[in-house]
Symmetry: D4
Subunit: 248 residues, 8 copies
Amino acid sequence: MNKADIRRLLQEVKNNEMEVEAAFQIISDLPYKDLGFAKIDNHREIRVGYPEVIYCEGKTVEQVKNIIEFMLTKENNILATRANEKMYEAVKAVCTEAKYNSLGRTITIRMREEVLTDSYIAIVAAGTSDMSVVEEAAETAILLGNRVEKIMDVGVAGIHRLFSKIDIIRGAKVVIVVAGMEGALASVIGGLVDKPVIAVPTSVGYGANFGGLAALLSMLNSCASGVTVVNIDNGFGAAYSASIINKL
Amino acid sequence: MNKADIRRLLQEVKNNEMEVEAAFQIISDLPYKDLGFAKIDNHREIRVGYPEVIYCEGKTVEQVKNIIEFMLTKENNILATRANEKMYEAVKAVCTEAKYNSLGRTITIRMREEVLTDSYIAIVAAGTSDMSVVEEAAETAILLGNRVEKIMDVGVAGIHRLFSKIDIIRGAKVVIVVAGMEGALASVIGGLVDKPVIAVPTSVGYGANFGGLAALLSMLNSCASGVTVVNIDNGFGAAYSASIINKL
Amino acid sequence: MNKADIRRLLQEVKNNEMEVEAAFQIISDLPYKDLGFAKIDNHREIRVGYPEVIYCEGKTVEQVKNIIEFMLTKENNILATRANEKMYEAVKAVCTEAKYNSLGRTITIRMREEVLTDSYIAIVAAGTSDMSVVEEAAETAILLGNRVEKIMDVGVAGIHRLFSKIDIIRGAKVVIVVAGMEGALASVIGGLVDKPVIAVPTSVGYGANFGGLAALLSMLNSCASGVTVVNIDNGFGAAYSASIINKL
Amino acid sequence: MNKADIRRLLQEVKNNEMEVEAAFQIISDLPYKDLGFAKIDNHREIRVGYPEVIYCEGKTVEQVKNIIEFMLTKENNILATRANEKMYEAVKAVCTEAKYNSLGRTITIRMREEVLTDSYIAIVAAGTSDMSVVEEAAETAILLGNRVEKIMDVGVAGIHRLFSKIDIIRGAKVVIVVAGMEGALASVIGGLVDKPVIAVPTSVGYGANFGGLAALLSMLNSCASGVTVVNIDNGFGAAYSASIINKL
Amino acid sequence: MNKADIRRLLQEVKNNEMEVEAAFQIISDLPYKDLGFAKIDNHREIRVGYPEVIYCEGKTVEQVKNIIEFMLTKENNILATRANEKMYEAVKAVCTEAKYNSLGRTITIRMREEVLTDSYIAIVAAGTSDMSVVEEAAETAILLGNRVEKIMDVGVAGIHRLFSKIDIIRGAKVVIVVAGMEGALASVIGGLVDKPVIAVPTSVGYGANFGGLAALLSMLNSCASGVTVVNIDNGFGAAYSASIINKL
Amino acid sequence: MNKADIRRLLQEVKNNEMEVEAAFQIISDLPYKDLGFAKIDNHREIRVGYPEVIYCEGKTVEQVKNIIEFMLTKENNILATRANEKMYEAVKAVCTEAKYNSLGRTITIRMREEVLTDSYIAIVAAGTSDMSVVEEAAETAILLGNRVEKIMDVGVAGIHRLFSKIDIIRGAKVVIVVAGMEGALASVIGGLVDKPVIAVPTSVGYGANFGGLAALLSMLNSCASGVTVVNIDNGFGAAYSASIINKL
Amino acid sequence: MNKADIRRLLQEVKNNEMEVEAAFQIISDLPYKDLGFAKIDNHREIRVGYPEVIYCEGKTVEQVKNIIEFMLTKENNILATRANEKMYEAVKAVCTEAKYNSLGRTITIRMREEVLTDSYIAIVAAGTSDMSVVEEAAETAILLGNRVEKIMDVGVAGIHRLFSKIDIIRGAKVVIVVAGMEGALASVIGGLVDKPVIAVPTSVGYGANFGGLAALLSMLNSCASGVTVVNIDNGFGAAYSASIINKL
Amino acid sequence: MNKADIRRLLQEVKNNEMEVEAAFQIISDLPYKDLGFAKIDNHREIRVGYPEVIYCEGKTVEQVKNIIEFMLTKENNILATRANEKMYEAVKAVCTEAKYNSLGRTITIRMREEVLTDSYIAIVAAGTSDMSVVEEAAETAILLGNRVEKIMDVGVAGIHRLFSKIDIIRGAKVVIVVAGMEGALASVIGGLVDKPVIAVPTSVGYGANFGGLAALLSMLNSCASGVTVVNIDNGFGAAYSASIINKL
């Protein structure tokens, strides 16, 4: 509902083309579906360009299933993150097309075929242990319609591995860097590319890593410009922002 | 025992209407029941207006049962928080009226029917995942005799959902805002209502959420005035304070 | 602008009592004054019951003076917090009625005489060193139209001092507890009164106090129910919330 | 020096069009200027698209002046951040075109006129106190060739101020949100726009704000998708990333 | 080996009453028993007044059993803390007199009857949930030969319960205060008694309690003088220090 | 006022030896002097054995002077801690006997000559930089009537310096260990003596010392038993507790 | 590939001894083996002197097995750290020579017999509970070809145990100190030896130990010079650095 | 005093070549000079290989001067760190050879000419702002007799600058890496050299750098092996350890 909409509406009321009560409903009835325990934001795709994504952590299996059942009545593709096996089984029972990525912990349902972008998002990871975050990011990016290139295990301890892949990284429109431990990969890549870099600290590591805090602080303090940061292990968030940028 | 009581007592002693020893007992016998491992504060209702509530965390099933058995000898309604299923079963065995809210983890026993207040407490939650804190708050508020309105899943990521419910929130005498992640809902509501807002940060979230710390700090730093804060996940505490205010 | 307002507006448009453009202006022109560097929220008093308060920290002397000059064109009383001497002098130059509380660091301007409430807010402080927070709270509460009782230096290290004042504390409609160091005073008072307690941790202390963190955590974890907390040293916020409650 | 360059170079050596030693120099002489205490990265514009920016914190006045003197020998525009008055005076002495933004603490020198982008970066700030970060961001963005729109003082405590400016925010290609205290503005805007949002937490606030930590954690935990975060008070970094995105 | 010992030894060597090698052995043979994975400090009782206590956390069942088996060859009483059921069973198998306190997680073996001190240690606890720490402290204090008085569940939320027990607390030679949550009990008792107070913060609580940190900071910042603090949940350490003081 | 006092009072009322109003005054008039901004706890010496000490931090020069002026009307010795030069000059003006220890930042006034204890408190410090804490502790201990032995600069980096002084440390009735940096001295001494050890972490150090946190955590986690801890830089608190113990 | 290599290569191209494409391959083909989920750094031994070590945490059993299977095709000795029993069984199935140290959680495979160094690394541990870190360090050091001496349970609480072993510690070329709790052992040894000391804080302890943070900060703040620190529980890292030094 | 010394001493006593009292003095007189406020560890050079270094922070000008005056009576070179200008002037007055490095804040006095080592220590710094730590490290290393190579401003944001200097870094016997912000340089160098790397985090940076914490955690979590860490800004400590290693 932008300004033009309001003007048109008012004009229709003035022209007696619309009743006061109907106009009131349109203004006050905000476009979401209330499931009692959740309010599904149908309006979201119009407002921010993407359908709502289901964050499963802290929800019951029943709740996840119910939300997806409702969403299936729309023609949108569906993404659920941080989903466990049980949630997947419950969803599978109501929608056989549902796919589960056990490493990335995502459920995806494709209701319509999406043409992927020409430009691609590079997802670069420091170590094999960062793989689950990479998978969450990749599933998200692809479902949102982006071409993706994954570059695994190019941490700075053996920096020649990174350099051998630098062309494919530089070719991306936006780069996601996934790294745990000290997260130095984000700074090194930030200094080598002229594209936006989105850094995802992971909780990989131990001791003074403090569950990803070391990598998070490292990335926030990157000496390389052009690096922005999302929450620890937030592969979804990085991919979502990357997708917005990739489609600009 | 206020000043008037002391004066009257002394007068009775002077008038020989009371023996020194009896007066001494009244002064020194403080009104609690000693169960050995716990001292139940009978005097509490007179002093602060509400009966003692049982915080079950860290207590054994046996201890919870024993405390409730003693309390059943009084005519008060009973509330136990952070109770698990096993505690409920033990209590159920000695009091069939006991009810368990598995989401809110509360045991409630209604010994007398309470007339609810006309004014109500609004409990507003950002997401479905905050539901267990909402339930603890709601059970507490109702048992303490308050009318309650719950408004679920109105987090700021889709702020129109909040605006559609703003009248019911504004109609409350006191508002409890329950939110995890960044807890922004408290500030937004604080800027929209002219009632006391009690914010409950929840431990919902991950990574740099640090078990609710992000929401807690966010709420303590709210740019909106009129917001006070309780401990992370402390639905009980918020409801207790809200009840005091609602009944002023 | 509540629902009734919108309905009436639409009816007027329908009745041709109002032009579309005029209706559009009313809906879209939100009621604030734009000073370029600041947007003064005129609408605030209608919405949340109090005029906007000027938080001076991080503002220039010039900005503070300009904001107050604008506000003087309205008939509201004015409160500026965290103001330094220089700001006061600049304000004094444009408004001789301005008063400065150097301990509380507040500038107050009384444009109309306020009748104070019958019920009062008790502001209870643990130590003499907490005085500046007490003063900020008291200036705020009084300017907002509340009767205030201050009880100083009743920290728990000499708890009989507190007990000698307990009647005046219990007589309040709402109690503000100001304490630094370990902040134990909030819990003790919380266990003694049946009124809402708003706790203000102060940065008074040293070493493992960590700038008020010790008192903050202490108050958030209070074993006494009925205690809510505001930010460290936030006397203004406590008084603001207390005022809302006192006027319910 | 990309792969094609290396191949061409090798071919020239093979064709005897270039001597081994000359080829060696080209490969091994990396393109930076060594000033002893600093190595100026001339190659940077080719590699990441922008000239090196001088971060003045921790450098002496003499060092800043020397670096800028060297850079003046190139035709690039020059930006120095976190510069104090003394540094500016020293630079002014060697380059009269130097401009100083005392709020944003930047020195800028325009050596060639830049055509600004059609699309613009919106810089949205919660409060007047966040202005110095806004200025650093704006100076950076403009020097890097971007059109900028500043929207000041639209914090969530009076959310209608934000809504009145939502069209200008939505019209941007990328949005920078600057906020201190609880930083809720980032989440609210993140839920309202379909553009990349870069959040800058500021150190504005006190007590449990912990120098910007509250806003930082808040923004990292944003419930709205599409929000990435830079370091506390890092207006430069946000503008740098925004510029990359704006020019995609 | 004090100075007198060294002088006597040297005199004996001079007098040819002792051989050089024998003297060397006495000087260099330090008095501990090496079990390979552990060095048992036999000398400890002479040096610091108490036998070594076995801290079982992080040790295997086998190691605990072996250490105790060795210690049984001496006539000392034996105390093992943080022991689990399995460790107890293994010890029971080699020493039937071993006793297990499952709440306090201690194994005790009494090899000789100890006459308890006349003066006593008061162990005062805020809540029932603090009981396991109380038990560890009590078992330790008694085994080290002290008379103990336990006062349970006298937290400050119902401070009259504390006052009813104040005489027994004041009668102690040293007072141990065990409290979780905000730990205010330590300050209140510190202000009421003229004896050394040793405060033990417990990890009882949730949310912003951060595993006992809130109580720890609270106790370290106690506004009452005469309070010293031990590690979170360290009932053993408190009792050990209290025992030293009680026996002075 | 103990139980016997109350009984006697009541008996006197009964015997008409005392009027009701007089008895009421005695019961309700708690023994402190109200200076408005401070309540001086006259009763304190009777209750906890020592007169009140003035903590000057956060007080004005005027307030410190006024409190001391009042206290001079009593015959007690006076101690003010964390006092600056200006406070001393103000006090000196009203009491020429006042002495200032500029390193320890204490003002002391001796109104009556105290006989020092036979047993002594050993104050052991790791480095020369810990001296100000040592001085605060020593001034406190001596004013409270204790004999004191200071052992400076015996940190564990050159542990033979400690061993050369071990006899004088072992000869004390109670040992205060003052150390910054890693605070290892407390553990080493704790393992060598059979007396109560009170550890004072100091803020001496830099970087990851975090204002004394490193030493504080180190001392709380001491592997040696018999060590209790006070707040960072709290020489006064350590000496106060040591004095209680030394006089048992 | 050092400068000489590049020169020679270019000369060969010039001399037509090598084709342009072949030279290009040599320059661009960096020496690692890509397994898809991991890039094994074959070049590492040439570059940093040791083969790559497999860090198993966060890897699947399948991944660990595959990496080791590939490495078995080389003649290097193999070390896998943080390996669990299941990983060992999978590796055992493909290589019967594999050995598992269940305390140290290492898998080692010896493909060629290594002559150990004459000089040795001393691994000194404070307590029996630090044993798993000691084992990880010892397995690493030995596999890397170093002679090792382990000295267990010489924590500072009974410092004579340490002194009895001081000669063997001083005889080492480099000393690893493993300690939890307050980690004081590192400082004491640092003050007694003239060899490099590498300190490993362990997560042994509880309460305010915060998972090894206390020992970590303690070691970083060591008052003894010559002490450097690795991550909490990082026995591998300490041994790796020690090995480099031991072989200098 | 090693075992052989003790044996010889005892033999001399036995042979009547030494009196008991004289032998006693030798054993008990530990070799330090007591200045009252400081105990100068003369024995240190024999024990750990280097003379004591004066850490000036927290010492008075007078104390620093007195310590150095005493040390001048020995023939050792003298190093004082964290010294300010005033200390230098005071020292200069008693020793004209004293030199001051104002960036590194060191005072050095060369009493005898030292032959520098053949092998060298490389000190590599990320940025110009890290220069003061580099200077402290260099002054220390040189005074301790080491050849030093400084490589400035090779942070990872322009990694080609580092690669151009890699040969000089690889040529060192030990490498010190000095970096603030995210400290990634330590990991990158750790992956490129086969020498011990000592990482020094600096407090350079702002916001979520938290005074060097970001770089410290980053370095402790380095994914490259062979990296050990010293305290934030501790250039002295890094150089001291590097010197021990360089001279092995």
